[in-house]
């Protein structure tokens, strides 16, 4: 009789342990079907540097605030941004530096195309301060070294001339700017 009770108790214990092990191996899913969002970073008065494959600096972003977008694409937004863009031409050892400034910016996780918005100014670092291109918005493809307009029409200022153009494209390798369908006027006061 005692042995019968002992065997029954052992069997129940084994069932409980087995069930526990099974439950441990298949945990219950979290509430809802989406994964919890990872918190992005938020930096104030920050500098982010992107290096090239050879270790040299490719891009330096200086901004009043830099915030990583939440939601999985890992892009970052920037407020009151200045950019030092270093571009080396094939066969050139020395890097050419470009300076950009804008009210805001958007940089994807892969840093391929940097978009800038609001009173964007582009100029070579070693040129005269009057040698600049100013636009409402522009993007830079960091692989092709091309800066281009992202909206149309776009207001552009080049030296003492302000223009409304359909599109523009600046090749940062040879420093050539091409503007299409241009309506310009000499307007030195608002430089």
């Amino acid at each position: 009789m005692n042995w019968r009770w002992i065997s029954l108790a052992a069997l129940l214990g084994a069932l409980v342990i087995g069930y526990g092990a099974l439950v441990e191996r298949n945990p219950a899913p979290a509430a809802g079907s989406t994964q919890a969002e990872q918190p992005g970073y938020y930096l104030k008065d920050a500098v982010i540097t992107q290096t090239q494959q050879n270790g040299s600096v490719g891009l330096r972003l200086i901004a009043d605030s830099i915030e990583q977008r939440q939601g999985g694409d890992d892009s970052i937004t920037l407020d009151t941004v200045r950019v030092n863009y270093f571009q080396a031409s094939p066969g050139e050892l020395a890097q050419r530096e470009w300076l950009l400034s804008a009210r805001s910016g958007l940089v994807p996780a892969n840093f391929r195309v940097v978009q800038l918005f609001g009173d964007v100014v582009l100029r070579p670092a070693d040129a005269q301060p009057t040698a600049f291109l100013r636009a409402d918005a522009l993007a830079i493809d960091t692989q092709t070294n091309i800066a281009y307009s992202t909206s149309s029409p776009v207001h552009v200022r080049f030296g003492g001339h302000s223009m409304v153009v359909k599109s523009f494209r600046a090749d940062l390798t040879n420093e050539k700017v091409r503007l299409e369908s241009v309506n310009g006027r000499f307007d030195p006061q608002s430089q």
Partner: protein, 224 residues
Amino acid sequence: MAASIRNRNSLAGASGALLLVAFGANAGAAELPRPNDEFKWDAKVVTSDFRTDTLEISGDVRVTQGPMSIQAGAAKARDVRSQNSRWTFENSVHIVTSEAELQSDTASAAVVAGQLARARAQGSPAQFAQRGGKTDAQVRGRAGVIEYDIAAGIVKLTDNVWFSNGKDEFRGDVVIYNVRDERVQINPGGQGRVRGIIRPRQGTAATAPAPTPPPPQPQPESGA
């Protein structure tokens, strides 16, 4: 030395002459550019760089300032960041002001303090026409080079010049014409030979013989 013109049929052979003629074409009051007129331009394509302070402009180029305009197939603007820029135009250049019209193969223009101040047209030949006058008394000219001081209203034609007021006509090395007081000086330095045809005004034809054009003269004259 000055040679006055009488109502002769031909001045062929007058040499070393300074001729002053008031054409009296009665051009209308010219609308002159004002200092606050905007200097505007448009074109299909503009290329530039960040170093040379130059714009290369192509495709239906049109520059305007108040009543003035310059149209061309292509242009190049230098010193564009300063108040004083220099523009060159090519391919069917057409310069129009309220006072005059020039057509040429190439031209250049000076912008001084943001204002279109001077133009220089070159062609084979470049052509000048005064605007606003009577159609049968239009002052016109042709020359290798035509310089136009827009602010002063003075046109200077050099290099194989032909000049006419619609009735009389002259050939010389240099012609200076003031489009405002409509006075013309031909070969003002006293060099070279002036050839002209002065035709009688209507109403005096009964007392003067009809003009006979001189035979074509070899060009250019010596002493240019």
